[in-house]
């Protein structure tokens, strides 16, 4: 057999495959941006959606997406951080730990639609929260917890064991070592992980359809009191997010400019996710430089 020829052919094939994957991404990004960017305007980004007339925007949906993201992060970050610390610093190898790890893995591979239905059953129906930001934020947190826990745990595991020994040698307890030695060293990669998971949460829709709801009532942006139902901050109002909006108008939308709106909304979604992606890396590197140079 001609091994050299086989080598050449295989190399070419691999080049072609890699090229095709790159092509797929660029044509997809290009398609979304070319379709959507012309439709973007200040008006589109800030005005409320119209359900049966042309000329609606995505203002409320955009705000809802960010608000839900912040709430979900506020709920899930402390829990994920605690869980990751326990798993990486305290847990010994045992059957128990094994079961817990499996549980987290199962949660991470759970279809997000199942998480959404669980949220619907428990929070919307049982606890009578209704379709609301609160239900949505909790469902998103459940969706986000395993991803975040794993990324924080990896960040912690990357810190050399030497640092912990140094802490112990100084007479610090394990908790103090974690708090003052390990965590500060892990901050850059934790931040990167958090921002990346924020990107995924921002684009999630299936978990929200039956928790945060599919309607975006008009908001009074002059009223920032969370106890008023028409206030943007009210946790009890239904809140359709950008991703849910794209899904909904594509599967049952009735406005005449449906294609334009969904192309524009998709472009916004992609741009936000891209910003998250790039800033995650930039932020991580910057923090790393700052924290290691001092």
């Amino acid at each position: 057999m001609n091994a050299k020829l086989a080598d050449k052919i295989a190399t070419t094939v691999i080049y072609v495959i890699a090229g095709m994957v790159a092509l797929v991404l660029f044509s997809m990004l290009g398609f979304i941006l070319v379709q959507g960017l012309p439709h973007l305007s200040w008006h589109f980004l800030t005005s409320p959606a119209l359900s049966f007339e042309a000329g609606g925007g995505i203002g409320i949906q955009l705000f809802n997406s960010f608000y839900l993201l912040v709430l979900a992060m506020v709920i899930s970050f402390p829990i994920a951080l605690g869980a990751a610390i326990y798993l990486n610093e305290y847990a010994k190898k045992s059957v128990w730990t094994n079961i817990i790890r499996t549980a987290i893995e199962i949660l991470s591979s759970l279809p997000s639609v199942v998480v959404g239905l669980f949220g619907f059953l428990l929070f919307v129906v049982q606890f009578k929260f209704g379709f609301s930001i609160l239900s949505g934020a909790i469902a998103l947190s459940i969706f986000n917890l395993p991803l975040l826990t794993r990324s924080i745990e990896t960040s912690l595991a990357q810190i050399p064991y030497l640092q912990r020994e140094a802490g112990a040698a100084l007479g610090l307890s394990r908790w103090e070592t974690v708090l003052h030695v390990v965590l500060p060293a892990a901050v850059p990669s934790i931040v990167t992980g958090v921002v990346l998971s924020a990107g995924r949460v921002f684009g999630e829709a299936a978990a929200l359809i039956f928790t945060a709801g599919q309607s975006a009532p008009a908001l009074n942006f002059m009223d920032w009191n969370p106890f008023n139902i028409s206030s943007p901050l009210s946790p009890m109002r239904p809140a359709e997010t950008l991703a849910v909006h794209i899904w909904k108008i594509n599967s049952e939308g009735i406005m005449p400019d449906l294609n334009l709106v969904s192309a524009g909304a998709s472009a916004v979604l992609i741009i936000v996710v891209l910003i998250f992606n790039f800033s995650a890396r930039k932020l991580g590197m910057k923090l790393f430089k700052k924290l290691t140079s001092s």
């Binding site: 080598d7 398609f31 591979s109 239905l117 669980f118 307890s173 594509n250």
Partner: protein, 307 residues
Amino acid sequence: MDSITEKIKRQSESTRKDRFGRTLSWTALTFIVLVVALIFAFVLSRGLNTFIANKVSVTDFLFGTTWNPSVVNPKTHQPFVGALPMIMGSFLVTFLSAIVATPFAIGTALFMTEIAKKRGAKIMQPIVELLVGIPSVVYGFIGLTVIVPFMRGVVGGSGFGILSGTIVLFVMILPTVTSMTVDTLKSVPRHYRESALAIGATRWQMIYKVILRAATPGILTAVVFGMARAFGEALAVQMVIGNAALMPTGLTTPASTLTSVLTMGIGNTVMGSLQNNVLWTLAMILLLMSLVFNLIIRMIGSKGELK
């Protein structure tokens, strides 16, 4: 004397803090486990209702081929709740997309780790990461505006169907499988490569005979992981598959998956009715399948370790 024993026995400030921290982090972890248990309890209790309260036989449900829960079968006096069409649909799109995605993922991963290490990492790494980040509804939107009309033009029919679903899922799981394959390839020890090249193997021989063999368990894990993601994906698939609860007869005729029937139906049925319970049973199947995928990954992992 007494004060000294007391001093020794008393917990130091550090110990107290440590105990506090330990409890705090333990609580967080327990909370997650509790959530998982709750999800299982809720979905199982709802899903099993079909069999317990509505007395639908399990075999009818799993192997029946007619799905029309609001119509009663005159022969058995039970509604038509054969879920096989959706189960078939889910498995078909999952396997097909995994089969298509695997060579692409391995090729891209090899490009990044073996063929063009520097350029590969520089160009392909961000591309793969960006693909992971694209939300599933955007994939669905592209599927609906590009792939479905394309299929309609090429193969005729309405353009909705398993093939369109497969294409969308293929692009969706490709980055996941690729990045995990890259990790496994990177973990193949360097001396494997060096010894292969030292005895005169070409690069392809080294890749094919040594690296891919050594990385097989890892690649399999990556593929199963991608399949788990494809199996549970709801919205993107629902937008392009056509949603006909029929036994799939071809790749270009409309079909449905467990997730697409779930998202379409759950709002149109009444809580506690049979029509609603059967949907929860579908959710239960999804849940159990993600358990199965996890077990498979574990099995591959432990087999890989033994070698």
